[in-house]
Symmetry: C2
Subunit: 175 residues, 2 copies
């Protein structure tokens, strides 16, 4: 297949976006698909250095990710974005602007994400060392109708990955 | 062919980067190649809004273009960049970082570009309305050893385009 798409992961820090996206990417590559992961941290480093975590700057960051994902997807690449992207309106803006947009909600309760605290960021947010941290002192707006939802507190990594892949088959993006 | 590359146009405003890049893109598409043009203005709008034309901000802008061009080229796309990119060091940084980098120097004397003044920018730079304008009150550093040079004051558009295409064949990027 040579059909590109934008696989837009959204969810709290620690919900499992990066972990799932990496395994999904491997599975797709095994099927001969071209894949790029636009991870939140990598994009901040390469496209958005200097931007803060204010709502305005987050929106600018998300628009840039959307622009690059679009350039890739229209050339046959599955562009997987794995940034928190907490605001519904901007995610919907991207959905409206570009074709083949699939929203993947990586859903885990805040308590679970905070308990995992893989990067130690929740502790810093609770102590006030980090400001504007999504879920703590900044909002996260879950999608109303995501094409795919993975509940990572209730399913294994393998189950989440299988669910993403089978959903892409169901939607006709994979044969 | 599915070989991607970064076709990096550099040259003064009005030298002919955008014009030549568009026709080259068409020729490549006719040969079945995937192509994206990362034009200076489009990139400023979508990836670098808010950046100035200081040396520091220009370098950031060029690094972003390089990053996106690399994402495209490693997925089999010919990424044509058409920003002025006046500084040699940052162009060479991009060359070192990424594979399949081809520098295309669109060379026309400043007097010729200023006489063309397609966008009316030279007049504004001369009057002081625009500051840090390349060639007027900001430097342009020509490449030492570009893979391809087009002298647009001495050759027609068709000749420049033919020269770019035949050079890509010579370098083994087109069959």
């Amino acid at each position: 297949m040579e059909k590109g798409l934008i696989l837009w992961f959204t969810g709290l820090s620690g919900a499992g976006k990066t972990t799932i996206s990496k395994v999904v990417a491997e599975k797709l590559k095994q099927r001969g698909q071209k894949v790029e992961i636009l991870d939140g941290d990598i994009v901040r480093e390469n496209l958005s250095k200097g931007l803060t975590f204010s709502k305005e700057d987050r929106d600018i960051n998300i628009r840039r990710i959307g622009f690059v994902a679009h350039l890739l997807s229209r050339n046959g690449v599955v562009a997987i974005t794995a940034a928190i992207s907490p605001y519904k309106a901007i995610r919907n803006e991207i959905r409206e602007m570009y074709d083949n947009f699939i929203e993947v909600y990586i859903n885990a309760p805040l308590e679970v994400c905070e308990q995992r605290d893989v990067k130690g960021l929740y502790a810093k947010a609770r102590s006030g060392e980090i400001k504007n941290f999504t879920g703590i002192d900044d909002p996260y707006e879950p999608p109303d109708n995501p094409e795919i939802t993975c509940c990572t507190d209730q399913e294994s990594l393998d189950e989440s990955v299988a669910h993403v892949i089978s959903s892409l088959e169901k939607y006709g993006y994979l044969t």
